[in-house]
């Protein structure tokens, strides 16, 4: 892609992300929040592609959009009747929240501004998917296995917790 196109795509995606994320945290209807969350996740996947991380983008779509959001919507439907008043949600402590979050944002941005990063000029060679696959089964095989155990534990834990006695 051209540099110009890249920049344009970046800004569009960023706008989508920030906008939908804002909707997620501010909408009254929680079901709508969940839908905006899907949009946000899609846009993040786009950002990953822009950063030439195709595999991560694919995983993002599969796990976040495909699994987690569906899970969230299930939870919403289990805990509230759609279109019932209880699906409404409210925000509280908005003003102090804005103050703290605003300060944090300013502070973070200024820190980012001050830091000088060791930027590498090298480009990415070949497919990142191949190298991720290789390193997951060689260098990071132990964390990989551990994570699989964590998943099993979470699975069983979730079942145990949500089970009716």
């Amino acid at each position: 892609m051209e540099n110009g196109t890249q920049t344009a795509v970046f800004y569009i995606l960023s706008g989508l992300i920030v906008g939908s994320a804002f909707m997620v945290v501010s909408l009254k209807n929680i079901f709508h929040s969940a839908l905006f969350l899907v949009l946000c996740f899609f846009s993040v996947a786009g950002i990953y592609i822009l950063l030439s991380a195709e595999f991560v983008a694919a995983v993002q779509v599969l796990i976040y959009v495909g699994a987690i959001t569906v899970l969230l919507i299930f939870a919403i439907m289990l805990t509230a009747q759609l279109y019932s008043p209880s699906i409404r949600q409210s925000n509280e402590q908005v003003i102090p929240g804005i103050i703290i979050v605003g300060t944090l944002l300013i502070v973070t941005l200024s820190v980012l501004r001050r830091t000088s990063w060791r930027i590498s000029t090298q480009g990415i060679e070949g497919q990142s998917t191949v190298s991720i696959g290789k390193s997951l089964l060689t260098t990071y095989v132990l964390p990989f296995e551990v994570v699989s155990l964590v998943l099993i534990a979470a699975l069983i834990g979730a079942i145990i917790i949500a089970r009716r006695e």
Binding site: Q93, P96, G97, I100, V101, T103, L104, V107, T108, S110, V111, R114
Partner: protein, 641 residues
Amino acid sequence: MLPYSWLIPCFPLLSFALIIFFTIKKPRLSSLVSIGAVALSFLFSFIVLVTVLGNPVTSEFKINWLDLPGFKVEAGMLIDPLTAVMLMVVTIVSMLVQIYSVGYMAGDSRFSRYFSFLSLFTFSMLGLVLSNNFFEIFIFWELVGLTSYLLIGFWFEKKTASDAGKKAFITTRTGDLAFLVGIFLLTTTVGTLNFQEAFHQVESGAISSTLLTLSAILIFGGAVGKSAQFPLHVWLPDAMEGPTPVSALIHAATMVAAGVYLVARLMSIYALSVPASLVVAIIGAFTAFLAASIALVQNDIKRVLAYSTISQLGYMIMALGLGGYTAGTFHLMTHASFKALLFLGAGSVIHSMHTNDIWEMGGLYLKMRTTAITFILGSLSLAGIFPLSGFWSKDEILLLALNKSPIFALVGLAVAFMTAFYMFRLCFIAFYGKARDQHKFEHAHESPKVMTVPLVILAFLSVFAGWVGIPWLSKGYSTFVYHHEVHHLEPNFILMLVATFVALSGIYLAYVIYYKGTISAERLKNRFSSIHKLLYNKYYFDELYNAIIIRPLFKLADFLFKKFDLGVIDWLVNAAGNFTVFLSWFWELFDTYVVDGAVNGLGYVVRGTGAGIRKVQTGQLQNYAFVIFFGIVLIILLKIF
């Protein structure tokens, strides 16, 4: 091996703890534990002796115990040939006495406790022997005194026994007070508690000769008490109220030798003070003579032996006072073997006859052959008959006395004569002649093996232990245990002959009077009735002390009680009580109004503050998260600005 010598006293200590805490209900097991522990100590002591024999140097092992500015107390061991010999003496006698006690004390209701005390005593004695400084030796010195007290009064139901225990304790305490003062005087002057450092300081002249003499004599006071020397000898004969094996172990072979050991250990100090050593020698010689003369007429078998012990200890002290480090400790060693034998033999007789009075015995040779033979061997050794142990050590002391000052040699010969006489008076009355108490005679029997085997071993030692000190040996006791340099005295044949003649004549006199009856003992007694009375009543020492010390003390105490306690102290106490009542009334008011007010006020403040602050605790996680993020922002701000 030597650095592990601290284990030697630890075995009996462990056994003491084991018996007291675990096996007190199982007498047989207790005795096994105790004997096993002392056997281990014996084994280790033997290894130490062999090591020191191979390399006769003085080794010291110590750790800092208390390290205060300007004052340092160490815990340590000093191992030299003298220590090695003493370790052997203590462990051998202790082991044999404990084995013997299994028979002697059989059936006693406090059998286990008896063995625990013996273990504790052995621990204390071994610790005393191994000590490398004044502080440590004083601790063990007192521990030894304590166990002696416990064992003398072991049969405390008997009033005479508990009284004897108290008497021994108080009398030796008198000496210990002097000992303590002497230690203070010496150690504060030289600035160290450690023996070797102190000797070094003394030898380099860090202390004036007057102070040195004074502290040496005061320290000797401790030895006088422990070793029952004049004028503190009165406790030892009474201590015979304890079980006989205890008398053998503590009041013949080991504890009473502690005084002798102390003087020997501090030889470097006494060697530098002529007046102090003279005092030591005179006290020793005087005691030897005094006690031997009392022993001539006593009728209680154990008391004869007790006075004999005092007399022999006087002999050793005299030798040390004359500078005879080797001679004194050599006699200590041989004396330990034959005096332990004699006491255990006497115990065997008492065990079988149930009496201490020699005039109720007689003809026992027929009934108790092993006891009789070993007892007579011990007597011969004590009398100093060639070639038994006692001959060599006594000869060594006499030779030394002759070289230093003939008066002491004369006293020594006189004591040797009396010793031979009273020992064989005992032997002839108890073991020969006809049975005086037919009933008891018929019930007499030889003691069990567990008692006779230690007798035989001790008899063996009584005969041969002294051979290590035969003066013609090129390498013997005198080249092993010596102070600074070997003092080799030329053996004197004439002296040997004279000494033997004196001893034999003592025995002959006893033979003539008590066996043949050629000279009637009754007539002699009547002829010299005043002297006999004096001797029989032990020169009235007890009565004298009673009159000049104890009675006045009682009177003073009585007077103080009546006048001072009832009059002054009670009045003061009552006044103080009334004053306290008044004060407490006052303070009660203060408490009610001031203190309670303050306390309640504080309570109100705390409660109010709590009520206000508790509102912050909403129980809402998000509120807490707010605070957390606020904190994070603050931290970042602090970091970047």
